[in-house]
């Protein structure tokens, strides 16, 4: 991996702001979709696809590419947007999100969309195919690495832990799971009306360490810190790594941050305008209205 220079970091941050705006534009246009989860993992997806992953947008099926699985598939509009910004397909296609006959359906379908390495949408399934890919790389003698983004709510699914157990047993140090630890799921547990809700999972570090994984904690919105964490994972030998990325659901738009409501809410025109202004991306709004 190249060093992440301050200049490059600034560029990536600009990409991330644009991606956030395009996510909101696409969901607004479609009249449906998830918002909080996609904004939560945007910075990590940008860092991965623009800096970390060894991929080639012109050859999405290149056999030596690094693999990536968005196990929390409901956040796919973030992945589509990052792939489009990276050149996998035209940016205009994002406006077909959720439409019939589109490659941009509500959850990623690897048989349809270039750049998607694994279909997902049913939570809890993504780590197992990631494990399979990592095992495949080892059996083939290939050096590609596999990355899987997990949701913290998603971590309630048993299959995640079945995969966690076996990945450690095979000492798969070419597998990195990234926990989007934003502290919210869709509805969660309510103690009593109006009271605090439990986080989706408590003490993930302890749990994953107990399963035999190396655990690294980082800020999932600080691309420099996140990249450093991935570098550490890459040099870890003999065990898979879990990066606990501390994130904020709805990150980047003040009124969407840390709100259960914004899990899957469509911004009104007014909210869209306000959000794009906050992101410094109001120019994109003009373009979208022209293209609507």
């Amino acid at each position: 991996m190249e060093p992440l220079t301050p200049q490059r970091l600034k560029e990536l941050e600009e990409v991330a702001a644009r991606v956030r705006a395009r996510i909101l534009l696409a969901v607004h246009h479609a009249g449906a979709g998830h918002v909080g989860g996609p904004l939560s993992c945007t910075d990590m997806l940008v860092a991965l696809y623009f800096h970390i992953l060894n991929v080639d947008p012109n050859r999405p099926d290149w056999e030596d590419r690094d693999r990536f699985i968005l196990s929390k598939g409901h956040s796919t509009i973030a992945l589509y947007t990052v792939l489009a910004e990276r050149g996998y397909f035209p940016l205009e296609e994002l406006f077909t999100f959720d439409a019939i006959d589109s490659r941009m359906q509500g959850h990623p379908d690897m048989t349809k969309t270039p750049g998607i390495d694994m279909s997902s949408g049913s939570l809890g399934q993504g780590l197992s195919p990631g494990l399979g890919m990592a095992l495949g790389a080892r059996l083939l003698g290939k050096s590609f690495r596999t990355y899987v983004i997990l949701g913290d709510g998603e971590s309630q699914e048993g299959q995640i832990w079945e995969a966690a157990f076996v990945a450690a047993r095979y000492q798969l140090d070419n597998l990195t799971a990234i926990l989007d630890y934003n502290g919210l799921q869709q509805y969660g547990w309510r103690n009593a009306p109006g009271e605090h809700m439990f986080p989706p999972i408590e003490n993930p570090a302890q749990k994953w360490q107990a399963f035999g994984w190396r655990v690294i904690e980082t800020d999932g919105h600080d691309m420099a810190q996140f990249t450093a964490a991935v570098e550490e994972a890459q040099t870890t030998r003999g065990k898979p790594t879990l990066i606990i990325a501390h994130t904020v659901k709805g990150k980047g738009v003040s009124f969407m941050e840390d709100q259960y409501d914004w899990h899957a809410r469509v911004p009104t025109q007014q909210e869209l305008v306000a959000a794009l202004a906050e992101l410094g991306q109001s120019d994109l709004l003009v373009i979208s209205q022209g293209g609507d």
Binding site: A30, A32, G73, H74, D98, A99, I100, D101, S102, Q105, G106, H107, D109, T111, S119, S120, G121, S122, L123, G124, G153, E154, Q156, E157, G158, Q185, Q186, Y187, G188, W189, R190, A192, P193, P200
Partner: protein
Amino acid sequence: MMTTYSLGKPNQDIVAETLLALARQDRDLIVVTGDSRGSGKMTAFGEALPDQLVEIGIAEQNLVGVSAGLASTGKKVFAISPACFLTARSLEQIKNDVAYSDNPVKLVGISAGVSYGALGSTHHSLHDLAALLAIHNIDIVIPADNFETYHAILAAATHPRPIYLRFGKRPMHHLHHSETRFQLGKAIILRSGGDITFIAAGETVAPALFAADSLEQRGISCGVISMHTIRPFDVEAVINAATTSRALVTVEEHSVNGGLGSLVAATLMEAGVWLPFKRVGIPDEHTIAGSQVEIFKHYGITPEGLAETALNLLNGSRGNRFPASASATASRPAANPPASV
């Protein structure tokens, strides 16, 4: 003049209202959710009766297993989760902990069929009837409108066996007259007709009924049956329809394989009844993603599409084999199957 049908609520809203009303009277009624409280419209229930709602988190296998255990202690358990996950991820818990072990859990599959159409195949439940029909000891109910939903929930609450109820999230038209009665296992004849009968279930009953209305206008006598209970199956209603109309069309929000259409076909063959027949549903292909309305349109599950299917079937069979027969006895097999089947 075309009959008009007023628009009601989404069936899921009726499920929520009915369960809340029942649970206020019955402390043994428990709702179990899997981070699906809002999608299942159970937020008000949880706020009103927090001790009667158990939240399991995003863990459908656990949800079904826990529900089975609760039911074994005598609780009336409604386990609520999107139909796609409930009947796929936790199929084995349904098979072993609920059906095989005879724990009378009421499994409520929400946003069923292609209600979550645009979310893609992970979110479609087009396999649930086929999967559950191959498992012994679980009844299956697919209410068509608010009336059927209300009565299905009432019936489920006291049902002695495991039961699966399947609901969508779109507001449904009121399809029934005030004198209609609802009984599990007994199909509702919405109208009878000598030319063709639609046998539909759930959210496909409405388009079938609208298709029948428009065909009547064109002088074609059309029957419509709401086959709200898939198990136990109302064999008599099917045979009656087959022997009183010239052709049958089944309509379902499910794969054409293994669901209502397959069940009707098998029922007829075994009874020795043969007539022009067409299954309308989701064909065996990589299902398109789009809204439920768009997917229905794509696969011809619309009043126009169904009317056209009916006409093609009738035209394909015109003049041959079976004049309209009012007798309830089985027809004789034809020498050649019609081209359109």
